[in-house]
């Protein structure tokens, strides 16, 4: 009989501007919390999956620090937000194939107090593809996405009001999330008055750099029956990497990887955007959320600004997008925190920001030329 997997536990640390902790200590804390949430013990864990951009701790080190004698399945994926859905898919595959019985997926980083984009220990020697960009003062991700956003503005007449509508919507959601780092309501006027980082992006267009970790536990659906919470199933996952991730060389910057992922995901799951009760869309920048809201089909191309502005992406509208506030307001735990929110909502444990009786949700990960997405269902 084919094994089916499910998410049975979630855990996290506080999200803060300065954790004062190592990525190892935070990964261990989040993992212990996730196992306690599931009702499993450390000795049940035989698999681990994580991702990093060289800013975190390996699964082997975390397993060792937790006192495990060894791991039967481990995967350390080198990647950024683009793999934040892939790692969940890997854990499901590992459990369903019998490679392991209980897999922990985590992301742990000090993206605020540790290494930050735009800080350097010494003079830079730019090799590889960056030798053609860094000497021009072109070297952080926000700059790539600013190029994409400007092109969308040119093609569709997209405005700063449109980007602002997304920042304001997600912030209003975060007001009801005690785990979010930014919880004061934001007005469109405050958005417009905020400083430029790289035009067309204001500070409120950029994800909130954060220190913290989160973890999810995946095991068999059969075992989930004896555990504490309503399990969450994976209905399908699709990823896409275009142009080897060379974002500048992408043909049409008004669409992202999601223009390739969406039709395949909807086709393979037999579902449609209108079937989703809520979505957690990767939002390293407002433009990422804008382009993917369109690409996944929640509205037409060029209409995302009015879609958010008219309340269609919040409670009482078509779909609640980023009920936790997203990376823009909950914090930049590199997109794995979107999966934690998906589980909270599908279990009915989201408290005052609970979406009404959700059954299905889309979680996306990544931006520009590469990313992935999946659909979760309550069991």
């Amino acid at each position: 009989m084919k094994r089916e997997a499910a998410i049975v536990g979630i855990g996290r640390t506080a999200y803060s501007r300065n954790s004062g902790k190592t990525t190892l200590a935070m990964a261990v804390e989040a993992t212990r919390n996730a196992l306690a949430d599931a009702g499993l013990s450390l000795n049940d864990v035989d698999g681990m999956v994580a991702f990093s951009t060289g800013d975190s701790v390996s699964t082997g080190a975390v397993g060792y620090a937790l006192g495990l004698d060894g791991l039967y399945f481990q995967s350390d994926v080198a990647g950024g937000g683009n793999v934040a859905a892939l790692v969940m898919s890997q854990a499901f595959m590992a459990v369903e194939s019998g490679n392991c019985d209980v897999a922990v997926v985590y992301r742990s980083l000090n993206s605020c107090s540790g290494h930050r984009f735009g800080t350097f220990a010494g003079p830079i020697q730019a090799g590889g593809d960056s030798q053609f960009s860094a000497p021009h003062g072109y070297m952080v991700p926000g700059q790539w996405f600013a190029m994409w956003a400007r092109r969308h503005m040119h093609t569709y007449g997209t405005s700063h009001d449109d980007f602002g509508a997304i920042a304001v919507t997600y912030r209003n959601h975060a007001v009801n999330n005690s785990h979010a780092m930014a919880r004061s309501p934001l007005t469109l006027e405050e958005y417009h008055d905020s400083r430029w980082i790289m035009e067309p992006f204001h500070i409120y267009d950029c994800a909130l750099e954060a220190d913290g970790a989160c973890a999810l536990v995946v095991t068999t659906r059969e075992r989930a029956r004896d555990l504490k919470h309503r399990p969450v199933r994976l209905l399908g996952h699709v990823g896409y990497t275009g142009k080897a991730g060379l974002n500048d060389q992408w043909d049409d910057m008004t669409c992202m990887y999601s223009a390739f992922v969406a039709p395949r995901l909807w086709d393979r799951t037999g579902l449609a955007p209108s079937d989703m009760d809520f979505a957690c869309l990767y939002d390293c920048f407002t433009y990422t959320a804008l382009a993917t809201t369109e690409d996944f089909g929640f509205c037409e191309k060029g209409e995302a600004g009015s879609f958010y502005r008219s309340g269609r992406a919040t409670y009482g509208g078509d779909i609640v997008i980023n009920p936790h506030g997203g990376l823009l307001s909950e914090g930049y735990i590199h997109g794995l925190n979107h999966h934690v929110e998906a589980v909270l909502q599908l279990r009915g444990d989201a408290g005052v920001r609970q979406v009404e009786e959700p059954e299905l949700c889309l979680v996306s990960a990544g931006a520009a030329a590469y990313g992935s997405a999946l659909v979760y269902a309550g069991d």
Binding site: S133, G137, R151
Partner: protein, 158 residues
């Protein structure tokens, strides 16, 4: 660890490998050249060891130096060492006339950042890169200004 530009750090310097070395050597002679397949004639950027379309051998060939702005940004926050005094500065993705599928990222010079527009015609200038012996391509706006989208290629109508 310091914020970019808060010290006396020079701008990032290229670290060429054997395949990219000719790119920098051409610039040192005042020429902008990128790889082109000697078999199928496809232009290729950034560098590879062989043509990604046909697998053929690559050589460097000069570009005419003119192109069109596909998109651009205006940098305000200090993110790169050596650029503090230049802020705010515009960086553009330029489509060279010869290769509609290629984008070259470079700073726009001799213009205020708010003069830069998508679709504008530009011409390369080759300048010294501070902090070393390298030369760098930058782009200046051409006097005849904006062109239509039709010459840019690559972007479907909205």
């Amino acid at each position: 660890m310091s914020r970019a530009g808060s010290s006396e750090m020079p701008p990032p310097q290229p670290a060429p490998d054997s395949h990219s070395k000719p790119y920098w050597e051409h610039l040192a002679r005042g020429e902008l050249a990128i790889q082109r397949c000697q078999a199928c004639r496809e232009w290729q950027f950034p560098v590879l060891e062989f043509c990604r379309r046909c697998g053929g051998a690559l050589g460097y060939e000069k570009l005419c130096g003119e192109g069109t702005i596909y998109s651009y940004l205006v940098q305000h926050h200090n993110v790169a060492p050596g650029f503090d005094a230049l802020r705010p500065y515009a960086i553009a993705l330029v489509t060279p006339d010869e290769a509609a599928h290629v984008r070259l990222a470079a700073r726009i010079v001799e213009a205020a950042p708010d003069e830069v527009r998508i679709g504008q015609r530009v011409r390369v200038e080759i300048v010294d890169l501070a902090g070393g012996d390298y030369k760098l391509p930058v782009f200046a706006l051409l006097a005849d200004g904006a062109s239509s989208d039709a010459v840019q290629g690559g972007d479907p109508p909205g």
